[in-house]
């Protein structure tokens, strides 16, 4: 039988993984719900403007609103609604949660993936330089740069950058949320800051440097060199495509975590800022929805990475086909 690169193993693999994703998301929601349930603070009180309610008042209100007494009852009613496409309404704004979250998730998506891209643009050349030349003088400087950017905390460096920016441009590089018109640098500043400060540059540099030097000492790369053909062409898949995609998939949760801080500081209208707000307001439906959306993004990224891996690695696609 002829072995060709059909899409079939990938499809098979994806359907299986999507099942897993489904149960994973249920699990995530359950854990988050449990945490919220046992956390101090009363969402009902939040609804009524922070009044302290007596037990009798609470009982009555819960009965009126149809809220179950038990945690599993509450979770179940949330879950049933979820399957009907209803994520609930925000306790704070009274708007349907899903619409608001998806609207803002788009901004967070731009921020995180833009930052990811920016980090890679910095980390990749450094990693390649270090792998090829070793730690010479320039290499040492580059490595120190990578470590420093990752070591400086984002909440500090972001404020420093804002300070410098206001000193030189006399405007604040914030205010996307307020609807002011902004120029490109102002828009990009949060992306750059997250890209620099999320701490993934040093790890990417280290990981990629090791991967590149490992792959370049592989036997098959030596063969390519002996053949007089392009060495990079032969090394590309294993030295760059696979490790970079792995890096993106495994680091995206950290970047999203950093996005919460950056969105807060730069007033970037994303779900990170929204989650922060919701946590303070005990706005449980919003928190639940954001957690699920974030988990979904993380999961999809890693799925994408695995799919890519199966596509570029003929051996892996063979394995998925037979298993």
């Amino acid at each position: 039988m002829m072995v060709s690169r059909s899409a079939k193993p990938v499809v098979l693999y994806l359907t299986r993984e999507l099942y897993v994703t489904f149960f994973l998301l249920i699990g995530v929601s359950l854990v988050v719900f449990a945490v919220l349930y046992s956390a101090p603070g009363d969402p009902l009180a939040a609804v009524f403007g922070g009044q302290v309610l007596s037990d009798a008042q609470r009982e009555e209100m819960m009965r009126n609103l149809g809220i179950s007494n038990t945690w599993y009852g509450q979770y179940w009613s949330w879950l049933v609604k979820l399957f009907n496409g209803d994520f609930g309404t925000s306790l704070r704004s009274g708007q349907p949660v899903l619409g608001e979250v998806t609207k803002l998730a788009k901004n967070t998506f731009y921020l995180t993936f833009g930052a990811m891209f920016f980090s890679l643009m910095i980390a990749l050349p450094i990693a390649i330089y270090l792998a090829k030349r070793g730690t010479d003088r320039l290499g040492w400087v580059l490595m120190m740069f990578a470590y420093t950017t990752s070591a400086v905390p984002l909440f500090w460096s972001a404020y420093i950058v804002i300070y410098i920016y206001t000193r030189f441009f006399n405007t604040l590089p914030i205010g996307l949320a307020t609807g002011e018109s902004m120029n490109f640098t102002q828009m990009m500043l949060p992306v750059f800051m997250l890209g620099l400060g999320s701490g993934i540059i040093s790890e990417t540099v280290r990981f990629l440097r090791d991967e590149i030097s490992r792959v370049f000492s592989e036997d098959y790369v030596r063969t390519a060199r002996a053949k007089g053909v392009s060495v990079w062409k032969h090394a590309l898949t294993e030295a760059l495509i696979i490790p970079v995609s792995e890096m993106i998939a495994s680091k995206i949760p950290f970047v999203i975590g950093g996005a919460i801080i950056v969105e807060q500081i730069f007033n970037w209208p994303g779900i990170g800022r929204m989650a922060w707000q919701a946590a303070q307001d005990r706005d449980y439906p919003v928190i639940m929805c954001i957690t699920l959306v974030t988990a979904l993004i993380v999961r999809l990224t890693s799925l994408l990475q695995k799919t890519l891996y199966v596509i570029v690695n003929p051996r892996a696609s063979q394995e998925t086909k037979t298993s």
Binding site: Y220, R222, T223, A226, K227, G228
Partner: protein, 367 residues
């Protein structure tokens, strides 16, 4: 022109700098060899004797830091005779007395660039190489066909995809791979070790290189497959007239394929000459090391009185602190009172004993 050898190696040295020991490891330490057109030169020696490293050096496959190469490798092209290592000496300090590398420039970038430049148009096109462990030496991410086609379009006149593919199938057939049409689309992991080695031979030969360096091509394969690969190489040599340098620690394979043999020990050629003369070790007519190697081939008459196979006692040479005298002296069985002093204090020259047969041993130097 016909008389000049295809490849002439003079004073080839390949050192590796060991950071922890702060010294050069002298893997190849002054090797002189000649390969004539159509010959099969077998280089034999135990691990660490420098046989692989010397051939990798010729291909420029030793990376700068920690490796460093000097010497001359004259390669006879159709018109000109070129030195593959030209200009590399400018970047190293060499001892005036014995040609040893004393130190290296701080940045080896220029050295590496020069090497890459020298090798342009040589690697693959003029000199092809096959390696041991074919499964890891072929790229696991590309099909066999792709890896052959790539070589063909790069180095031969078959530039179009269709022509190159036809040519690749032709070569797959030449190395006797069954159903080449299918194998063309296979990845290396889908092939057995022997099959993979055949594919690699096809890849190497497909560029129509004049010299094929086979670095332990049968190591790591089953004994039966080993014999078949050896036969295949011999057959292809007879058909295409390609010159082969065969590296192996296996005297059996070397004896079977080569018409010239060089025996290496501790980074030096100990004996070289026509295969017959080297292998004929009766009555101490060859170098003690060659004799010991031949006596350790698994054969009935090589068994010791206890029923064990003969082996060479002692340790492999320390290539950092190379002894002053003969490199093999500490393990030599034929060392005796009359020449002991010489053996321990002065390195013997490569003495010619008969036509083309040279031995580096004090036993023969005086004759």
């Amino acid at each position: 022109m016909n008389n000049s050898p295809l490849l002439k190696i003079e004073e080839l040295r390949t050192y590796f700098y060991s950071r922890t020991k702060q010294a050069f490891i002298r893997s190849v330490d002054g090797v002189d060899l000649e390969v004539n057109k159509g010959d099969t030169l077998g280089i034999v020696g135990e691990s660490g004797s420098g046989k692989s490293v010397s051939m990798l050096s010729i291909m420029g496959l030793i990376a700068a830091r920690p490796g460093i190469i000097t010497g001359q490798v004259w390669y006879q092209q159709e018109q000109a005779r070129i030195n593959l290592l030209a200009g590399l000496q400018d970047h190293v300090q060499v001892s005036k007395n014995d040609g040893r590398i004393m130190s290296v420039e701080k940045t080896d970038l220029a050295w590496q660039r020069r090497l890459e430049k020298n090798m342009l148009g040589i690697r693959g096109k003029e000199i092809a190489m096959i390696f041991q462990n074919p499964k890891s030496a072929m790229n696991p991410f590309f099909t066999i066909g792709h890896q052959i086609v790539e070589n063909i379009t790069r180095h031969t006149q078959y530039k179009s995809r269709k022509e190159a593919k036809e040519r690749a199938l032709y070569w797959l057939e030449r190395v006797k791979i069954d159903s080449p049409q299918l194998r063309f689309y296979n990845y290396p992991y889908g092939l057995s070790g022997g099959m993979c080695q055949r594919a690699m031979i096809a890849t190497a030969l497909s560029s129509e290189a004049k010299l094929l360096i086979a670095d332990e091509p049968t190591t790591g394969l089953d004994a039966t497959i080993q014999a078949r690969i050896a036969d295949l190489l011999e057959e292809l040599r007879a058909q295409t007239g390609v010159t082969i340098v065969l590296i192996s620690h296996d005297m059996g394979v070397i004896g079977r394929l080569s018409n010239k043999i060089a025996v290496m020990y501790g980074g030096r050629v100990m004996e070289s000459g026509p295969a017959q003369a080297v292998i004929d070790h009766a009555d101490g007519k060859s170098h003690p090391y060659t004799e010991a190697l031949l006596k350790s081939i698994p054969r009935e008459d090589n068994m010791s009185s206890q029923g064990h196979l003969n082996s060479i006692d002692g340790e492999v040479l320390d290539t950092i602190n190379v002894p002053r005298g003969c490199r093999f002296a500490s393990r030599c069985q034929r060392i005796n009172k009359s020449i002991e002093k010489m053996c321990l204090n002065e390195e013997p020259p490569l003495a010619t004993v008969s036509d083309g047969h040279k031995i580096r041993c004090w036993h023969f130097a005086g004759v």
